[in-house]
Every structure is written in structure tokens, then in C-alpha cells.
Symmetry: C3
Subunit: 416 residues, 3 copies
């Protein structure tokens, strides 16, 4: 970004109006997109995958963040490793597939061969003077939080990961993601800036009209509501249900209380276990479990949904029978990939314990509905007539938190 653009960006960051959306260039500008990739996606912990995708030694996956392809592999010591997927010879992408199994990593161009620790172990024709030790793969920070895999592309990764992982472990551990399998993973490309995708995720103001499948299990009061004389009783009943459920789950060893630390820090996050409507078991069309084989050692199906939101790009729902994870990865200023992964117990049998069509029904429909909404938002904010409107103080607080986090992190990182 040129100095002039940086100055314009700083001005826009400084004049952000609290309680209102972002100015149009944040959703449109290629220069700001590059700043987002450098400072937000380049310097923070980014959720990209789940451990069941790389369950065994030699299993690898590749993920794309901007122009970088990252190779995540489980090495022979069962440790996760991540590397830039780039040969040290002529720069060729080493693994083109999304996933696979390897013994060594062999470049398809001239067969330079690296072991799973990233060391170059063989390169033909390079002569006696050539030092394989100077040509290891470039490493990428990689960490698992109870099976959720995060990477960080910068030399220094934010130091608060351990603290977040420690606080989240009691919430996540009972669902035992590492002992799940991936039942389905889908990629949806939204013609929208990634921040419109995230802002959409951070409120349910739009749910009641747009998400009939999701609101079968999600309570309308769960994500903020303006109290008024006509709904005071039902809101009170809902809050009592939350309190009662929470107490019961905590007694079962399932932490449920809200933690909300979405801004003012590098790794912003929020979690809460909330009751579900109907049978109260799962985010399904009939609100019952989609997999008869419950996760880990869980016996009780009606555990509501443990939600876990992370800045800048992820949200997850852990139920008694399955886990759904989401990651939003920017493709360009006006394109975003939303990757959704449904996990069930690794011993659950498709067609016996669960049916993929039923498992995916709610979120496949919801994703598609959200895609349409954020694409209409993208079209609208491109108009010269767009000006950031006010957020609802009742239903859009978490959108505001997302924008706060984004603005403060972009300001901090781009100044550094």
C-alpha cells in the first residue's frame, strides 16, 4: 500500500462512527483488501480446518489464504506441521490436491524431496557445493484447540492463543472433536467482501424472516431483542429457560456460561451454550439429533448448542451429536469462501447412525440464504448513495464488536 493510500486508510479508521457500519471502501477497495490480507489474515490466528482432516501420520491438507497455499501435515511423530506449499528451487506449488497422504513431500517439477519435518532430503543435479540444510520448507505457525486447527502466517503469532485455549478447553473437550470424522465439507463462494460475510454472521436480526430452517431450533430471543410490552413475558420465560438449562448442564460438567471477549485483544472470541427449541437436541429441521451415535461419552442428547465465535473469520456450533465449523476466507475484495464442515463421531456409520441429507439440511439452506443477503449488501454498498447506517443497540451489538475489533487491529498492525 502506498503512503498516500495508507494515509487515506488511517483517516477512515480514525473517523469510524461508533454504532454504525463501515464506510464503503472497506467493502470495495482492492488496496484495503490487500491491507486486510497483510494485517488481519497475515498476523492473526486463522481457523482453517479440523483435526479429523489430518488424523494419521502422513495425512495432509492444503488451504489457501490469499496468494499463499499452506500445507498442513501430520508428521511421523503425530505432530501437526504447517509449511508454505512452495518449493525452495523454482517456487512450484508442492501439493496441488486439497488433501492426500504422503511419505515425503516431493516437488512434481524436479523432484526436490522434503521430509515431513520440512527438511530437504534429496535434490538431483545440484552439485557438491549445494547445502540441503539451507533449503528447508518455510514453516507456518499451527496450533490445535481441542481439534480446531488454527494457523498464523506471520513470523510472530499473537501470544494470547494459550490463554484462549485454556479457557475454552473445558467447553470444547466434552465434544471430543479429535475423535470425530468429517461427514461433509462444503465450499460456498459468496460475491461479497469477507467483512459483510462476518457481519451477517454476527447477528440474528435477519433470522426470523430469512432462515426458516435455522429458526426451527434457534430461539428468536437468543441473539438480542428489543424489549417491549408485547414480548416481556415470553422474553422472561426464555431467560428463565436459559438460566435453568445452564445450571443443569454445568452440573453435568458442561460449562455453559457466556464468555465474551470479542474486542480489545488480538484473539477476540465469544462462547455460550444456549438451549435449542423443540426437542432441544440439535440444529436440525426436527430439532432432534442427526446422529444417533453421540459424541465422546455423552449420554444426554438435549445439550443445546455450544457456540464459539472467533475474530476474524470463524464460528462453530457443538451439539451432543455433531459439530459444525465455519471459516470465511477472503478470495478478493468482493469474493469470500465460506467453508462448512460437519463432524460426527468417528464410529458413526453413514446410513445407519446418520444421514448426510438430514445432517446438512439446516446449515446448507442457511448458508445459501446468507449468501444471497450478503451479495445484495455488496451490491448496495457499492452505490455512491450508500452511507453507513445505525446498528440496532439490541440486535447488532456483536456486529459492532466485530467492526471494533477489525478497526483496532488494522490500526495497530498497519502502524507497526
Amino acid at each position: 500500500m502506498s503512503d498516500l493510500n495508507q494515509m487515506l486508510l488511517n483517516e477512515m479508521l480514525e473517523r469510524r462512527r461508533p454504532g454504525h457500519g463501515l464506510e464503503a471502501p472497506f467493502y470495495l477497495s482492492d488496496a484495503i483488501f490487500r491491507a486486510d490480507m497483510t494485517h488481519i489474515f497475515g498476523k492473526h490466528w486463522i481457523f482453517v480446518a479440523v483435526e479429523p482432516q489430518v488424523a494419521e501420520a502422513g495425512d495432509y491438507i492444503t488451504v489457501e489464504i490469499g496468494n499463499d497455499s499452506i500445507l498442513i501435515v501430520r508428521d511421523d511423530d503425530e505432530q501437526l506441521q504447517a509449511y508454505f506449499n512452495v518449493c525452495r528451487h523454482r517456487g512450484t506449488r508442492l501439493c496441488a490436491d486439497k488433501q492426500g497422504i504422503v511419505g515425503n513431500i516431493v516437488c512434481p517439477y524436479h523432484q526436490w524431496t522434503y521430509d515431513l519435518k520440512g527438511q530437504l532430503v534429496h535434490a538431483k543435479h545440484m552439485g557438491e557445493a549445494f547445502d540441503v540444510g539451507q533449503h528447508q520448507l518455510k514453516p507456518v505457525h499451527v496450533r490445535s484447540m481441542n481439534g480446531l486447527i488454527f494457523i498464523c502466517l506471520s513470523r510472530e503469532a499473537p501470544g494470547d492463543f494459550d490463554e484462549v485455549a485454556a479457557r475454552m478447553a473445558p467447553y470444547l473437550a466434552p465434544h471430543d472433536l479429535p475423535n470425530c470424522k468429517v461427514a461433509l465439507q462444503t465450499d460456498l463462494i459468496e460475491k461479497s467482501n469477507w467483512k459483510l460475510t462476518m457481519e451477517n454472521n454476527r447477528e440474528c436480526y435477519h433470522c426470523v424472516t430469512n432462515h426458516p430452517e435455522l429458526t426451527a431450533s434457534i430461539f428468536e430471543y437468543g441473539f438480542g431483542y428489543q424489549p417491549d410490552p408485547t414480548n416481556r413475558d415470553s422474553m422472561d420465560r426464555y431467560l428463565a429457560t436459559v438460566a435453568e438449562s445452564c445450571q443443569r448442564w454445568e452440573a453435568m460438567g458442561l460449562p455453559s456460561a457466556e464468555i465474551s471477549l470479542l474486542d480489545g485483544r488480538a484473539t477476540g472470541y465469544r462462547t455460550q451454550r444456549l438451549p435449542l427449541d423443540g426437542a432441544g437436541e440439535s440444529q436440525t429441521l426436527d430439532t432432534k439429533v442427526a446422529s444417533r451415535k453421540l459424541l465422546a461419552k455423552l449420554k444426554e442428547p438435549a445439550l443445546g448448542g455450544l457456540s464459539f465465535w472467533l475474530q476474524p473469520n470463524a464460528w462453530h456450533h457443538f451439539m451432543s451429536d455433531h459439530i459444525v465449523t465455519f471459516s470465511a476466507i477472503p478470495i478478493s475484495a468482493q469474493r469470500t469462501l465460506v467453508r462448512t464442515t460437519w463432524c460426527v463421531h468417528k464410529d458413526a456409520v453413514e446410513g445407519v447412525d446418520y444421514d448426510v441429507a438430514n445432517l446438512k439440511a439446516v446449515w446448507e439452506a442457511t448458508n445459501e440464504q446468507d449468501r444471497r443477503l450478503v451479495e445484495e449488501a455488496q451490491i448496495g454498498v457499492a452505490s455512491g448513495a450508500y452511507e453507513p447506517g445505525p446498528y440496532s443497540p439490541f440486535t447488532e451489538e456483536l456486529v459492532e464488536k466485530f467492526d471494533n475489533w477489525y478497526v483496532e487491529r488494522l490500526r495497530a498492525c498497519s502502524a507497526a
Copy 2:
């Protein structure tokens, strides 16, 4: 546009060589395209639709000009209104469809609801302090000239519209466009800069070889010709026919004399009623009317063609039986939408009074031929070898007028 680019643009505008085409960047540059959108399409009256498209209260259409979607609606008082199609909340496009019927305008995202006068009448969850009166839709100037709908996106619209409308009314009124219906509307995307599309429209030098369908009814002498000994007699005969027809039509209450005010003003235009060849009735393959139900109260089919050209983007032909309107809307520096609308009497019955295949035959073929020509021009002017050539003083006068208007308006508006 940066100061440096503005300076380069000014230099190019200053050095324009009279009687010659424009320099290549006017057809290629993204920066000049943005200047065109800001100053030409953003500050002038732009023809976009016809009244029959929004005949009843609640009827709406949407049109795109650059990044702006515009909502044109007939309100409950039967008045035309136009708004930027952008919600005042999160910026979402309000109406995604090309046309429809609405009672109120409801945003699909969070159901903010506007009436047809643009007032916000309902927004949930916004709290007691929220003032709906501060969040009306942003208005766009909209005017009808005897059924031809024009919009202007800037705060101040050119003041000469009333004068043009007054002079054109006697020409247009006898064809009564508001009491027509749309028989067909087609969209053609030309891989060309909009100015190449317009320059193509402003001459018939290319017609004789390229437009066999059109020249069935259009006289070869009608749009300029170099006199020489071999054609003096036939040109004289043609001019006598024009004079005689004109006198006859004027006597019937149909103004026919040329008005040519294409440059030196904001709303440049030209009109003339010209005889047609053959049966002299309509721009059809057999030169006879395409619709047996003549427009308005017309009794005589052989009224030639009343042409009405407007800067920067429109041309229209009014015959006794149907009206064809055209608007060229830039999509990008090298893409232009040409929208063609065929209107017949609102009581004409398809299959009985007219046949769409016959109605569209001439202009569908002609548009396609012109698309090919302007795309070849677009390819050619991108070559480093292109330099603006001389215009014919006999057949390309109106092309020169178009370029004059463009250069003087861009100079005036970008200086302001």
C-alpha cells in the same frame, strides 16, 4: 481520479483535433471511464425507460448506471419517483428484480420498510431514540418527456430539460407513448466503450454495406452523402420527396422539420421526421406497418419515421404503428449495454394485430451487425498503431457533434 490523471485528461481534451476521432485512452482507460460515469452519466439527463414499464401505481423497475442501482416507481398518486436502491440501514439493495409491483419497499435483510414516497415507515429493534424521519430513501431526479423516462443522478440536474420537452412535445405527443405497451425489450452487451457505440449510431456511412435489413426502409441519402455528378439527380429527387412529405405531415399536425441542437448545451438533441422507402410506413423488412393497430388516433400509416437523438446515450424512432427506443449504458471501459424497447398501442393484440418476430426483425439484426462493428473498432483502437482518423465532412458530421458535446461537457463538468 488523481490530480495527475486529471491533468493528463485535460491535456487530451485540449488537444482534440476537430474533424477527427478521439484518442485511444477515451475508449480504453479505466480512469476516463470513471470520469465519464461521474461527469457524463452522473450529471446529465439519462434516458433509461418508457412509461409503459411503470404504468400503474406500485409498478417499479430497477436500472443500473455504473455502480448505482436506481429504483423507479409509480407512487400511489400516480407520480413517478426514483430512489437509489439502497437501504439506509446496512446498504443492502432493496429490490433485486428488474421489475415488479410493490405496496411498500421492504428491505430483504432486516425488513426496514419504506413507502413509495421514500419515507421509512418501519424498522424493528432500533430503540426509542431512533428517528425514522432521518432515514428516508435518497431521491434521484426523474422526468418523463411524453413517456420517455429520464433520470439525473446529481444533486442539481441540467436546467434545460423543460425547454427540450416543450419543443419536443408537438413531435412526440401524436404517437402517445404513455398509452403504449412494451411488446419486447432486449439487452445486448457490446464489448466496446460506450462512445464507440454512440459514434456508430451517429452515422449511416456504414449502413449500405452492413445493414441490408435497415436499408430496406431507410433511404441511403437520409444521413449525409457526398454529392458527385453520378448521384446529383437522385439526390435532388430525394430532397424533393423530403420537402413534399414534410409539408404534407405538417399539414396533418405532425411537426417534421429538423431541429439540431446536438452540442453547445447540456441536453444535446436532434430530431427530424424523414420519409421511408418502399411503402413508407415503418422500419420493417417489408416497409409496411408491423402493427395493424396504429398508435393514438393516427389513421395514416405512411408517416415515415420521426427520429429523436439525445446526448449522451439515446436514440428513438417513432412510426405510425410502433416506437423503438434505445439506451446505451456503460458497464465498464470496454463493455456497454444496449437496451432496445419496442412499443405498440396498448390495445394491440399479439398474434392478431402484430407479430413480435416481424416487429423486431430490422433492429434485432441491425443491433447485432452494429455490435460486431463496434467490437472490431474496440479491438483496433487498443492497438498502439491507432491514431484518430479524419471524419467524412458529408457522412460523419453527427459523429463530430457527439465528440464535441462529449469533450465540452467533460471539460466543463470536470473543471467544476
Copy 3:
């Protein structure tokens, strides 16, 4: 290119590290792509076609170099002429087809008519004062080197063409390309920068694993190899075979010795006749001739392959029975066209003397394999983690020569 970009480019050119690949912007940057088109493809001799494509008077072809379409035509005196394919009137592309036959060159728009010497001979409606002599087509330098057609787009073409042609004539003449016919021409679009395409062509380090079809006839020692105790004997045998074959072919009047002048000059090139494996006749799957009708007056099928590499964009293989030519033409910073042309004796009869499927089998497969490799390289060098790696001193010398030539020519031409 702005002054600032030119300065950054100069810095990158200055700091190029010998024996290593180019920095990433050379493969990615739009600004450097434009510099490449201006200085490399705009100011050097570019191989684009073969004479059999324009065998007779009136035959023409069009080729695209960047934004320029070039018309190459054989005039009525049997001379090759080349022009910018742009009308001097409104800039329209004159000939849209890839090839054809013309008497005069007539613009499709307004029928301005040029003869095959490029003179404007007819333009209607231009008035008495118009001077056709001032509106000839703009010429492009065109030369044939024993049937290989080169063009140069700049006003001054590099002066060393004659010298190269003189040295190459004895090598090329025995294969008599002008008396061939084109059996097949294919266009392959590679999603790679043209320099990755060329670097791939300049080494066979990648051949053994990637090109099973090609290595049926190409010896693994032919393009560089690291000597070591296990291969010393077989390398010695190979070198003896080369020496023996070379002597035999020279005695038959077929120059075979290597000329290697790839850098340090405007028209860099290299040639050598090398033995082929198996039957030693042709670059085919079975190593035998693909056409029973040998070229020119050749009697002996086992003449190996005469290779001819040219900077910046071509490589060719001349065998006893057929000739394969290649040209790489940049489309954008990350797209390159590879055009491959297979020529056989003009009297060879398809289905009798040769079979196209057999003729094309090796290079069609090889091109496709190379496309995949260079596309993986393109993806990799876009990563922030890419840094230019070391070239093999044994197998990548000619890649290094290509980079040297490129850097020295870009430096020389952009400074001028």
C-alpha cells in the same frame, strides 16, 4: 510505467542474483508485464508463423502480440508484408479472421480499401481535399529465415537478424520449410507468465519424470547432467554417439555442431543437431518417422533432431520427416499462448504418408505436461514465501542464459 515503478524495476534488475531464478514480481506484476510487452516483445524479432501459412499471393494471417493485431500477407509480387491490422479511418480491425485470402484489404466498417502494399486506394465520402496518400497502413518489420517468419514491432529492428540468418541458413535449408505444408497447428493457453513458460523450455531436468512420451526419443544426457561415478560410462558412450553422428551428418552436408549465442546480444539463439534414441529418426512415440515423405531431397530418415532455440519466445525441432515450431506469446502477466505448428512435405498425403494423431502425439502430450508444471510454478511464485532458488549448474544453464538475456535486454531497452 511511472517513474517510481521504473525505479523499482531498475533496482530489481540490478540486484538479480546470478545462478538463481527471478524475483516474484517478474512473474506477477502487471507493470512489468507492460514493460515486457514494450521492451522485449515490442523491440525484438519475434517468431510468429511459418511461410507455408502464407504460401500464395493474397494469403494472409493475423497474429496478436499484446494489444496489437498484425496482418501478415503475401503481396502480388510474392513478397511478405506486415501491417498493423488497424484502419486509418476509425481504427477498426481490418481482418478479424486468423487466416484468409484477399485481393485488397477492405475495412468492414466503411469500406476503406487498401492494396497489399498497404496503400489506401479507395475511401468514399471523404471529399475532394482528402489525400489517400497520407493514409497508408502502418508497416511492421517482417522477415523470413528459411521459412520461419519473424516480425518486429518497433520502428528500428535489431540489426543482427541478417547475421543470424546467414549462420543458420546451412542448418535450416536442407529441411526446406518453405516447401512444407502445415499439417496441424494448436493453441494452448497456459495460466503462467511467459517467462515461466520459457524457463520450462530451457531445461530437461524435469523431463525424465514428467515427459514419458518425449523421452522415448530424447536422450536423458542431451540437455545437461551431473556426472557421478554411477553414470560416467553411459555419459561417455552418449558423448561418443553425439560426436560420431555429428561427423556423419556433416559429411552429408548437414551442419550439426552447436552454436550457442543465447545472451549478450539482441537476437539470442542456440542450435544443435542431436541424435535421437531408438530408431533415431523422429520425435515420435516409436522414434520412427511420422511422415513417409521425407522433407526436401532428404533420403536418410535417421538425421536426429536439429533444435533451434531463440530468445525471447521460440523453439523448433527439424527432423528428416517433419518440423515442429513453437512460439510463446504473452497474453497477460499470468497467461501465455503456446502455438505449436507441425509441418510436413507439401506433397505428403494425410492418411497415406502421415497420420496426424501419430505426428502430434509426443508434443501434444509434452505441451500439456508442461502446462501443468508451469501453472503450478505460477501459483507457487505468487506466494509471499517464494524466494528465487538456485539453478542446477549442470541442468539449468540455459535457464540462466534466458534470465541473463531477459535482464540485460530489459535493462538496455528501458534505459534507452
